[in-house]
């Protein structure tokens, strides 16, 4: 594997490969996803890559009826809302992602604390491929 910098761009490249990778601080052991080059806890700049299992639980969510152009293009609107959430990975980091396999039209049925597993949503092809982080109930 080539050396990748601890950056959002590297995070995106790993997602394209169906991998959720984090940076681990060599000094204090804290884990960050997406990867970051400087540890905000102990300020160390010594990081190493570590894979995430891709499991976690939902800690916050919303069902959006009025979305940004990116989501409107995917067919979401007031009659077809989508769910976005924050997931706390089992290894600790909190990550934002789209939440699938739930019913955004009945948001009260979605429960904070639900165990989730990662999914990789690929959009576009070849050079233009972009992968969005998503989660669905296990």
């Amino acid at each position: 594997m080539e050396e990748r910098t601890f950056s959002d761009i590297s995070h995106g490249k790993f997602l394209n490969e169906d991998k959720l990778m984090a940076s681990k601080c060599k000094k204090c052991g804290a884990v960050f996803a997406p990867a970051r080059p400087i540890c905000p806890k102990c300020k160390s700049q010594e990081m190493e890559w570590t894979p995430m299992k891709g499991t976690g639980k939902l800690i916050a969510y919303t069902c959006i009826a009025v979305g940004p152009p990116m989501m409107i293009e995917e067919g979401y609107d007031r009659n077809n809302p989508y769910c976005s959430g924050v997931v706390q990975l089992d290894e600790g980091p909190k990550v934002c992602g789209r939440i699938e396999g739930v019913n955004p039209k009945e948001p009260e049925t979605i429960k904070v604390g639900t165990p989730l597993k990662v999914r990789f949503l690929h959009r576009g092809e070849g050079e233009n491929i972009k992968t969005y982080l998503a989660f669905k109930p296990e």
């Binding site: 969510y61 919303t62 959006i64 009025v66 990550v95 934002c96």
Partner: protein
């Protein structure tokens, strides 16, 4: 916390003004700021010569996007005849003009300038709702945006976590909306100066006039529960949980403490000022998603500098871009314990005549939120309340000495807390 913050020499507010907030298709940023500036100059009790202004600090978030024009500090300086003196723009999303205020305080405290004009302006309504939503989203974190989050969605998500943790419901938030509208009705500068009851009556009258089925709601809460009247924007945030799209400007004149009484016998003293930053929903330095680290930090700094605690603050404007934000703001500022603000709101403690009045202006929700103008707009309300000039919405039965304003940008990316005192 490090050693106590202090400023080099005292700073006072000697004048304050604001344009009306609203949607003004026939007004541009220059006209709005001039409106605010004129009122600010006229508000100085013993008279003020604008030639005495040493520098301008202007908050503006994103007129670059909203009207495709950048570099607003000199444009506004030119509009008010301030050139060739210095003009500086501050940008930190919706907290832009609280930072202009802070820069003005620093400039005077350092001894570099004696008198400065601070303020903010934003011109948003030339864009449609989708464009404004996209423009505002530029203040979020990239990781939030790729997950599809909008700002109502971000505060909705914080709400979902708060609901799960503390048992608060959407119904509890209705009391914030009703209170904000009640206060705004008493504010001649407010964008939405009507109560929820007024809005219900207006909808009923409109239906009658057009010969449509006349809607009926037993009370305000039933109206807010009605998805036709109050559609979901980003669950659990519905239309009446969200601030409107606004145009507007606000401004204040600051000077050193030694010369303040030349201009007024009733200056306000800047006794506490704090600013924090935050990493958004994913922040690795914030363990609690129902609390903003930047607000907590800003508040701790301001309280420390002022030598005060939350119970000393008699009233406060807080950044209620969404109803849920008001709940977590007043907890993070220490006015209420975590998990208890919504109960206090239900008890009426944050009403105009309550024990801790919050957003007497109507807040961002009803006074309006022209983002770059909001910070000094909030401080304008503190100015009017502390000087007993708030008219019908003057907080009753209190000898007001200390008031504060909390301004928030992005996903709590920037938060400020400013405490003013009347002596």
């Amino acid at each position: 916390m490090k050693e106590k913050r202090k400023i080099g020499r005292g700073v006072c507010v000697i004048g304050a003004g604001m344009s009306k907030f609203g949607m003004f298709p026939d007004k541009d940023s220059k006209e709005l700021f001039v409106e605010s500036f004129k009122e600010t100059v006229e508000s100085v009790d013993k008279g003020f010569d604008p030639n005495d202004i040493d520098a301008l600090y202007l908050g503006n978030f994103s007129n670059d996007y909203f009207v495709h024009q950048g570099h607003w500090a000199p444009i506004i300086a030119d509009a008010i005849g301030h050139t060739p003196k210095p003009a500086t723009r501050t940008e930190c999303a919706c907290a832009a003009s609280a930072l202009a205020f802070k820069e003005g305080v620093f400039a005077i405290a350092s001894g570099f300038y004696d008198i400065v004009l601070v303020g903010g302006v934003e011109e948003m309504s030339k864009c449609n709702t989708a464009e404004v939503t996209e423009g505002l989203a530029m203040a979020a974190f990239p990781s939030e945006l790729v997950a599809g989050f909008t700002f109502p969605g971000i505060f909705g998500a914080i709400g979902s976590a708060y609901f799960a943790k503390y048992g608060c419901t959407k119904e509890d938030l209705f009391n914030i909306t009703i209170k904000s509208h009640n206060n705004a009705k008493l504010n001649p500068k407010a964008q939405l100066p009507f109560t929820i009851r007024d809005m219900m009556n207006q909808k009923i009258a409109k239906a009658k006039k057009k010969g449509r089925t006349v809607p009926f709601w037993n009370d305000e809460k039933e109206f807010l529960r009605d998805p036709k009247a109050n559609p979901v924007v980003a669950y659990p945030m519905s239309l009446y949980d969200c601030c409107p799209i606004s145009d507007g400007a606000s401004s204040m004149i600051l000077c050193s403490e030694e010369i303040a009484r030349r201009f007024t016998d009733n200056p306000l003293y800047v006794i506490g000022i704090g600013q924090g930053s935050g990493g958004g929903l994913q922040s690795p330095t914030n363990d609690n998603i129902t609390s903003l680290e930047a607000t907590r930090f800003a508040a701790a700094e301001a309280y420390s500098m002022a030598g005060l605690s939350p119970k000393d603050i008699q009233f406060s404007e807080v950044h209620d871009c969404f109803s849920m934000a008001e709940v977590i703001d007043i907890e993070d500022l220490g006015f209420f314990k975590h998990g208890e603000a919504y109960k206090a709101i239900n008890e009426g403690q944050t009403k105009l005549d309550g024990s801790m009045p919050i957003n007497t202006s109507g807040g961002l929700k009803c006074k309006g939120h022209p983002v770059g103008a909001t910070g000094t707009g909030q401080l304008h309300e503190v100015w009017e309340q502390l000087r007993g000039e708030a008219g019908e919405r003057q907080i009753p039965n209190k000898d007001l000495k200390i008031g504060a304003a909390h301004n928030l940008g992005g996903t709590g990316g920037t938060c400020t807390f400013t405490i003013l005192e009347r002596r």
